[in-house]
């Protein structure tokens, strides 16, 4: 893109004496940005954005820029280790890759023969683009249990969009929406899932009108025409209220509704139950504002909803996603340029095929943990984490004997962290693959050194729905680190799966690309591949759903025994659902506000990134702070019925004084003590994971909205901390 000025690459190389340049594809978050890696003496000397990449047009975020500091970090695990002391003792011995993989393979085969393959749970967190390989391994093994973030992050969007309209509708920033409703998302900081802040920012510059749905005044909210600061956890009610306006004022796309929607009358009837006065009461947002937002969104074409994970980490998870899709659909913004497009991937073998889901027998699939309770999750091979902890701690419905976490730090990221910790302490055998010895890895028997994105060949964005794939090219080797894909390829061959893996992982990439008639070596020379972009595909072939229509009324949910129509559920802990508790814990706690530089639990040890944000910070309104005797910058306790943690208070007047907003993902790699402070500021010490508090279909844990009290940490305690 010549539109943006960037230093000349040859000049850059000449001036600094760099030897070579590798173009690659970053994955410090969910991945996505094209990167220039400048090397000198085989070491990375500089990272910059690739101006030719259609995803980021040369821009790059703080994490991408600091990638090499992570890769070369002195604390990085660079060879396999086995634990020689008690769990959590931090005593390790170096072992060879062969010993590590043979030990893991031996355990796997032993547990499989004695307790069934289902006693082995594979896991990943947000996924380092290793998802398909992990599912492949588990499915071939015969274990239906892959524990991911999928129950409450992105998985719900995939599951609900498949049952509503066939695939995930992605905002088409290339064709600049004229109105963008940003719903519980800070895309310019978080670059979530299929999105990057850069194209969003470009569309805003082109004049897109903004509507922000957010309890907090973000910069996006401050730039919006309309800001709807809703009561946390009431998204579904707000969406239903907007739909009420759109339907009663007949602002919907009549042609779309008449010809392409299923369940219109029943849906209308459901929406009728949410008149604006009721919605105002639930959401704390004035009805005039809701109506104005609904009108602006429905009458500006094309319009899009920038959505993300916040609405999914609630008891109303699946229905939140479905309601936002209803808003996209009814306003005629599905699969139109500048709206929300059902992009088609390039015609390679897809992640579902690579994941080998067909190889799992029905008998084994029926054993998926929690499958009878969370039916939608089950149908998308997703499990609720508590089901795993229960299977370890109570051995119900059967014992889980082994965990293998690849890029996951569940003692920090999963709800009810103390229970997670107990389960990991108890489990008979645990292997972990990661960059560092995290608080989770501390409890492992074997830890494998994982390669960062700089150290691997792979097909970037293979799993995404924006229609691109981009080559990730290996630039460096660090120690004995290996990519998760290579490691699983090797391990698979050691547990009897050799017929389904390859001699080396490059052959797997060839296999994925084969339908396009190209090899990895050929793809490596390309900038990217993109699927065909065709608008309004549904006009010719309908939507890929059971009724071939856009299902406002989800027929499969009905088959699975759920309400086929979306509705609002009060958060399990709130001033209305638990008024007595609210007397003791009077503030609504929201969690997970994103910070530049961090990706969930990652990067706290990377100097350039930690410098951006040193401490965990809880935002509190100055009025509330005054009432609680809290000073700006002071360490405070945040306490829920489950426990207490501390973060540093920051005054923030851009939200209702009844709300406090805390960060997630915190541990302290710099603390040279067992556990590395895993329970000091970890938000999941406070969260709940009881099944009743989870989304009934998807099993999403409600980690975003709970009740808390907040008070200063005393002077003496600070000095001991």
């Amino acid at each position: 893109m010549t539109e943006f000025m960037q230093s000349n690459i040859e000049r850059e190389m000449a001036v600094y004496g760099y030897d070579s340049l590798v173009k690659s594809h970053c994955r410090m978050c969910h991945g996505g940005c094209g990167v220039l890696i400048y090397l000198k003496d085989k070491k990375i000397a500089k990272i910059a954005g690739d101006p030719d990449c259609p995803i980021n047009h040369g821009s790059l975020c703080s994490k991408g820029l600091a990638s090499a500091q992570m890769a070369y970090h002195p604390d990085r695990l660079t060879f396999p280790v086995k634990r020689i002391g008690a769990k959590g003792s931090g005593r390790w011995a170096r072992i060879s890759w062969d010993e590590a993989l043979d030990t893991i393979a031996e355990r796997i085969l032993d547990y499989k023969s004695r307790f069934g393959a289902e006693s082995i749970v594979m896991g990943y967190g947000t996924g380092r683009e290793n998802e398909a390989a992990i599912y492949r391994f588990a499915n071939l093994l015969g274990s239906p249990n892959v524990l991911t973030a999928g129950h409450f992050c992105y998985g719900p969007r995939i599951a609900t969009s498949i049952i509503t309209c066939g695939t995930n509708p992605i905002v088409d920033y290339e064709h600049h929406p004229k109105c963008i409703m940003v719903w519980g998302n800070n895309v310019v900081i978080s670059n979530p899932d299929c999105y990057k802040g850069e194209p969003f920012s470009n569309s805003v510059k082109k004049g897109a009108k903004l509507i922000a749905v957010d309890p907090r005044l973000t910069r996006i909210a401050a730039r919006s025409e309309i800001w709807l600061p809703l009561r946390p956890g009431t998204d579904a009610a707000l969406a239903l209220g907007m739909l009420h306006v759109i339907i009663t004022e007949k602002l919907y796309d009549h042609e779309f509704v008449e010809n392409h929607v299923f369940g219109w009358d029943a849906f209308k009837e459901r929406v009728r139950q949410y008149p604006l006065d009721k919605v105002e009461e639930i959401t704390w947002v004035p009805s005039e504002k809701i109506a104005a937002a609904a009108r602006l969104f429905a009458t500006t074409k094309p319009a899009a909803i920038q959505w993300g994970v916040a609405i999914e980490q609630q008891i109303t998870c699946a229905d939140n996603d479905r309601l936002l899709m209803a808003l996209m659909g009814l306003t005629g913004n599905i699969d139109v340029p500048g709206g929300q497009v059902l992009f088609q991937p390039p015609k390679v073998r897809n992640v579902g095929q690579f994941g080998a889901h067909r190889m799992l027998t029905d008998v084994q699939r029926d054993k998926r943990l929690g499958g009878d309770r969370f039916r939608m999750a089950d149908n998308f091979a997703i499990i609720n984490p508590k089901c795993v902890w229960d299977a370890i701690l109570e051995e119900k419905p059967y014992p889980v004997k082994m965990l293998f976490f690849i890029s996951s730090n569940p003692v920090i990221t999963r709800a009810n962290a103390r229970e997670v910790y107990r389960a990991l302490e108890k489990v008979e055998f645990m292997a972990v693959a990661d960059f560092f010895i995290t608080p989770t890895a501390e409890l492992a028997d074997i830890v494998l050194p994982a390669a960062t994105w700089l150290e691997m060949d792979y097909i970037g964005d293979y799993w995404k729905r924006h229609g691109y794939i981009l080559p990730r090219r290996k630039a460096i080797q660090v120690g004995e680190c290996r990519s998760d894909h290579e490691m699983l390829n090797d391990l698979g061959r050691r547990v009897g799966q050799e017929a389904h893996w390859w001699e080396n992982f490059e052959q797997a990439l060839d296999w994925i690309l084969e339908p396009m008639n190209i090899t990895w070596q050929e793809f490596k020379k390309m900038d990217y591949l993109r699927g065909d972009v065709v608008s309004q595909k549904y006009k010719a072939r309908g939507f890929s759903t059971p009724t071939r229509k856009f299902e406002l009324y989800a027929t499969v949910l009905e088959t699975w025994g759920y309400d086929p129509l979306p509705r609002f559920r009060e958060p399990p802990e709130s001033p209305y659902s638990t008024p007595e508790l609210c007397e003791e814990f009077p503030y609504i706690l929201i969690t997970g506000r994103r910070q530049p530089g961090f990706f969930h639990t990652e990067n706290r040890q990377v100097p350039w990134l930690r410098e951006l944000h040193r401490d965990p910070v809880v935002e509190i309104h100055p009025d509330a702070a005054g009432k609680e005797g809290i000073e700006e910058g002071q360490w405070v306790y945040i306490e829920s019925p489950r426990g207490r943690i501390r973060q540093r208070a920051k005054y923030f007047s851009g939200m209702d004084p009844r709300i406090v907003s805390a960060e997630h993902g915190w541990w302290f790699p710099e603390k040279n003590i067992p556990g590395r402070g895993w329970d000091e500021s970890n938000i999941n010490i406070l969260t709940d994971n009881r099944y009743e508090t989870c989304d009934p279909a998807m099993g999403a844990t409600s980690v975003r909205t709970l009740l808390c009290r907040i008070y200063p940490v005393s002077e003496s305690e600070v000095s001991h901390g």
């Binding site: 790059l60 703080s62 820029l65 310019v188 910069r219 851009g654």
Partner: protein, 152 residues
């Protein structure tokens, strides 16, 4: 001589701090020293409107720089191409410039006992390259580098 300028559009800044890290990568300033820093303005009410903005705190390379005037050892100079350069080798660490700067753009580097500020990546600019923070890093391209002929 071409006049070198950093043009900053604070309004467009989203607060992502990529520019801070781009600066670190180029200049490797010691921990805690930020030659460029994003600061928050707000939240507050601006009339009826809730207000919240980010501002980019960085040396403005002033036309008539008070830091140059205040420095007793002439460690800060304004070049003919309008770049204001602080030479840490000449700096005695008296901190006069820090007090003089109206933009709070100079920091004190305790470890080395010198003042530090953005020199507009002079080593890059001298070689025809763009300063790190302005080098197409920013998602909103808030920071732009221009080199225009100065007819004065």
């Amino acid at each position: 001589m071409d006049k070198k300028t950093l043009i900053i559009d604070h309004f467009e800044c989203w607060g992502c701090k990529a520019c801070e890290v781009a600066c670190k990568q180029e200049n490797n300033a010691p921990d805690g020293i930020k030659l460029i820093e994003i600061v928050e303005d707000g939240p507050r009410m601006a009339g009826e409107q809730p207000f919240f903005e980010y501002h980019v705190r960085v040396c403005r390379h002033c036309e008539d720089p008070p830091c140059v005037a205040e420095c007793p050892v002439a460690a800060i100079t304004r070049r003919s191409d309008h770049m204001v350069i602080l030479d840490t080798a000449e700096c005695t660490g008296c901190e006069a410039c820090i007090d003089a700067c109206p933009y709070d753009a100079i920091s004190f580097d305790e470890a080395n006992g010198v003042a530090r500020k953005c020199n507009m990546c002079s080593s890059r600019v001298n070689q025809g390259l763009i300063p790190a923070c302005a080098d197409n890093i920013c998602l909103a391209r808030c920071i732009q580098f221009t080199s225009t002929f100065d007819s004065t």
